[in-house]
Amino acid sequence: MSRFKDAEHLLRLAAVFALGAVVLVVARAILVPKSFGEYGHYRGNAIAEIAAQPVKFAGHQACEACHADVATVKSKGMHVSVNCEACHGALASHADDPTGVQPPKLDTAVLCVRCHEVNGAQPKDFPQIVAKDHSAGVSCETCHQPHSPLIETGAKQ
């Protein structure tokens, strides 16, 4: 009995700790997001939130839905694997609203050299030129049709 009295302060301390533990358990129940643990140790809803990010590049299938004629020209040329937005830029907004959003006009002087100006490390079979020697200021589409650029097969009209 007296031993209990003399250890009573330890019991009071234990009670404080127990209270703390209860607070932690209650806090967990309230604060842990409901979808946590659905698929693994993370908030399950995060997957859907990330997947809902808006798309900026429509993807070439969307372009080809309307522009099938260009797709046909391209499919016969060297740029067959170059997708539309690789040159025309992100155009999901245009696919969403084709008449309202017009794609910007492209400047071949800037555009073509991005790939074709020699930089010393391109694969040997890739067509590379030194622009100032090759065309000396003449814009690329003067001789090359961008959708089918090889001069023999896709000459500009």
Partner: protein, 242 residues
């Protein structure tokens, strides 16, 4: 392109419907996308990369990547044959505006880099709260509403693909354009690569060309000795690549 107004009037609604169904392909919204049916990776073909930087620009546009940080970047290697182990490497602004001409004597090639979406990723292992994780379909993502910004994952990634976004103060990296691939589109970088050097791969899809490719080509992953289970496969990767 010469569409008559009549043709446009017919095509527009069709295109709109097609686009809407593409947009609807979110995991819950579309009954067609089931996470357990996919296991995403990527194939990067070094022999095809021309260092144009289209992928870096496209990624930055698609994902609002802040200036000076990179979810993907391209490195240019110069390997001299008397020192195969110490290449000269450069990546001006991550290769975003392409590469200036340099004439060096050695073997030159480009190596696009990105998050490897490791199956045994060291970055998800160290996250103290579960803010970064691998989805059931194999994509390593960051929950920016839960991330503390402690940067432990940035330290733990052996490939240097993570950074702290200064606007959100959370860790960020390539998401394999999760918002696109779950809708049947390909990633922004693959869509814009003019040579097909980057190809999205679905390892669980038996019809995906990756399977035939892996059987007929010599591929490697980066830093295989770290056993990260990296799922970005490189074709024609030189031993000097770091």
């Amino acid at each position: 392109m010469n569409l008559t107004r009549r043709q446009l009037l017919l095509l527009l609604p069709a295109a709109a419907v097609a686009w809407e169904s593409v947009l609807a392909g979110t995991p819950e919204a579309s009954p067609n996308y089931k996470m357990t049916e996919h296991w995403w990776g990527m194939l990067i073909d070094i022999s095809k990369c021309i260092g144009c930087g289209n992928c870096v620009r496209a990624c930055a546009t698609e994902n609002d990547v802040p200036e000076g940080y990179f979810r993907t970047w391209v490195e240019r290697y110069d390997v001299s044959d008397d020192d195969l182990v110490n290449p000269a490497v450069d990546s001006p602004d991550g290769g975003k505006e392409g590469f200036p001409l340099i004439q060096r004597g050695g073997k030159n090639f480009f190596v696009p880099k990105m998050c490897n979406h490791c199956a045994d990723s060291p970055c998800t292992q160290v996250c103290p709260v579960g803010a970064t994780f691998i989805t059931p379909d194999g994509v390593v993502l960051v929950d920016k509403k839960y991330c503390l910004g402690c940067r432990y994952c940035i330290q733990a990634c052996p490939y240097g693909c993570r950074f702290l976004n200064p606007k959100t103060n959370t860790a960020e990296k390539c998401t394999l354009c999760y918002h696109r691939i779950t809708k049947g589109l390909t990633t922004a970088c693959c869509e814009n690569c003019p040579t097909g050097a980057r190809q999205l791969a679905d390892l669980k899809n038996p019809k995906d060309p990756i399977h035939a490719f892996l059987r007929t080509h010599d591929v490697q992953v980066l830093k295989p000795y770290l056993a990260t289970g990296a799922k970005v496969f490189y074709n024609d990767l030189d031993g000097s690549v770091r």
